[in-house]
């Protein structure tokens, strides 16, 4: 009996595996799988939606976080990964990956001070670093007052709020602070999560936003879209040129336009503290990671067509969600890199100009 049963089981198992394989084959052709950054998820979902109506090809994107995206693409479980933190050239080479920026956004400091309006308070990078280091502990500190003559500052204690979860936002923010303050660089450093010497941790942008709204005298950092949507009191920041700027699409665009994309190998570029009188100093891009060597060129082409479509026709959607689209100069550069780097197993270039989405 047992041998007959086993034979039956084997037959069932084989047909089940075959059926699964069939399903996998069917779905492979018309979905692209990606995973990573939560920051880029809203706009990627929007782009995917309009691409699906246009071509019938769906994008399945899991917003599991940038670290997760890097792990998944390295494990080859997805077609592309998305990270708010660029990989350096060495790591890219080792994994056989290439990366390119797809969209940008800004990180903005937000405060909760009685009577303070959005865009009124002026802060500098070193000041922000000292606040998060716990060196400046009260809002009426002389250093803050010096930048804000005429502004009434409360005596309240400063409650810094940070991201408790590891996040690309924290990576961008600490990257900026580490550039601004040697003490921050050596004591805290730059990472997706760091050891904060003072303050409270909220989970996600929404966690930071609700802590800041809850705690009197608090300061936090969130993505620009969150600050707008929750009508939070954002601050001005002093940029590299010494100018005080407000966070908006103009200052984010200025920062991206002045960035050295053309001269940076592997697009390994953080957009913090860029030159230019109008540049917002805490800007960051989300990077897509794909393999240079594509065993299935058709599916790689489908994927690149999607990103091309987003570059060419996705700007309005990005702006509507308070993201900053990549400048045309950069997207042209990216597509040239696709031509040069992404190849099938025979060594033939996967991307050609004929595939550009009308």
């Amino acid at each position: 009996m047992s041998s007959r049963f086993a034979a039956q089981l084997k037959r069932t198992a084989i047909s089940a595996v075959a059926a699964l394989g069939l399903i996998a084959n069917l779905t492979y052709a018309d979905t692209i799988n990606g995973a990573g950054s939560t920051f880029v998820y809203p706009i990627l979902a929007k782009w995917a939606d309009s691409y699906k109506t246009k071509t019938g090809i769906g994008i399945n994107y899991q917003s599991i976080g940038s670290g997760g995206g890097i792990k998944q693409i390295k494990a080859k479980t997805v077609d592309f990964g998305a990270s708010d933190k660029p990989l350096d050239v060495k790591e890219l080479e080792e994994a056989g990956l290439m990366q390119f920026p797809i969209v940008m956004g800004g990180v903005v400091p937000v405060v909760n001070l009685k009577g303070m309006k959005a865009g009124e308070l002026k802060l500098s990078g070193t000041l922000l670093a000292d606040i998060y280091l716990g060196k400046i502990t009260h809002w009426d500190d002389a250093a803050i007052a010096k930048l804000n003559p005429g502004l009434k500052l409360p005596k309240d204690k400063i409650n810094p709020v940070y991201r408790a979860d590891g996040s690309g936002t924290t990576y961008i923010f600490t990257h900026y602070l580490a550039k601004q303050s040697a003490a921050f660089k050596s004591n805290i450093g730059n990472n997706t999560s760091v050891k904060w010497p003072a303050g409270f941790g909220g989970k996600g942008n929404e966690g930071v936003a609700s802590y800041v709204q809850r705690l009197n005298g608090s300061i936090g950092y969130v993505e620009y879209a969150y600050a707008l949507q929750n009508k939070m009191t954002y601050t001005q920041l002093q940029n590299k040129a010494g100018q005080f700027v407000k966070p908006d699409s103009v200052s984010f665009q200025a920062s991206a336009a002045n960035a050295a994309w053309t001269t940076t190998p592997g697009f390994d570029l953080m957009l913090t503290d860029q030159p230019g009188a109008k540049s917002w100093p805490i800007t960051g891009a989300t990077f897509v990671l794909v393999y240079k060597n594509q065993a299935k060129p058709e599916s790689a082409q489908t994927m690149l067509k999607f990103f091309d479509n987003a570059y060419r026709h996705g700007d309005k959607q990005a702006e509507a969600l308070d993201y900053v689209p990549m400048p045309t100069a950069v997207t042209t550069l990216v597509e040239n890199e696709w031509k040069k780097n992404i190849r099938d197993s025979a060594g033939k270039s996967v991307w050609t100009d004929a595939m550009i989405q009308k």
């Binding site: 590891g166 050891k195 941790g201 989970k203």
Partner: protein
Amino acid sequence: MTDRIDIPDRVLNRQRLLDRLFQTATSVSAGLVLLILVGIILSLFVGGWQALQTFGFGFLTGSDWNPVSEQFGALVPIYGTLVSSLIAIVIAVPISFGIAIFLTEVAPHWLRRPIGTAIELLAAIPSIIYGMWGLFVFAPVLSEYVQPWLQEKFGDIPMIGSLFQGAPLGIGMLPAGIILGIMIIPFITAIMRDVFVTVPKFLKESAYGVGATHWEVIWNVVLPYTRVAAVGGIFLGLGRALGETMAITFIIGNTHRFSTSLFEPGNSIASTLANEFNEAVGDVHTSSLIALGLVLFMITFIVLALAKALLLTLNSRDSGGKG
């Protein structure tokens, strides 16, 4: 005289086969539980091995949690887990006891069912709702009224006073513990109520008959009769408090800094895992988080083992007394 009924061999064989299949199926299911348990421990151990090897015993005693310099010590989350659960138990046990006594002994009959159902509904509320309620509704009340009052009354007492230092912000260890307490009240209450109603009527009526007061009946009849099961209920609640994640993450402040004050933000093991696992960069960080999971597993295991041991001693004492 019994007539032998002739059952054809074919039918008998089929029955035997079915019996054997059923037996195998049930024992495999039971074995699977053990296998999964061992599998979880093993995978946690393997995953956390790198951290345990790097930091050794210091992983349990170090309070430094720094993803940049890759220094990981679990003292703060362990302390946070234990203290928040302790606060929860201190709050929840007397209240649950009171509710259960009220429902089974004091309340008029028409009131028992609606309140009992309400308690059960409370147990069904997802923990994230408690977290949101805690942050947006409860924390402001706490920071405005409760914490300043605590500070005023206890802040100057040596030793105890250090528990109530710092700004009353409504976010921190004490608020987390209170929310946890509210969350586990329905669990403990439901179990206590269910066991209190199992006390035989004649026992209670005999006590009333010899002139015992309400309270004497509860203390000398109901409680001794149900003690073992009631303690079991408390430990079930404690188990839930130790592993609670979302509600705590909302309100504990998520900070890896050690502080004796209950007003200051802290962290628990479960919320550290929820916060950091997705974006953990580097093998040591990931491994430390898995090792942290192992620690939580061990804590829960020890708590349950203690509960079992306590129940056993209570049991043997009870039966000794009766004999």
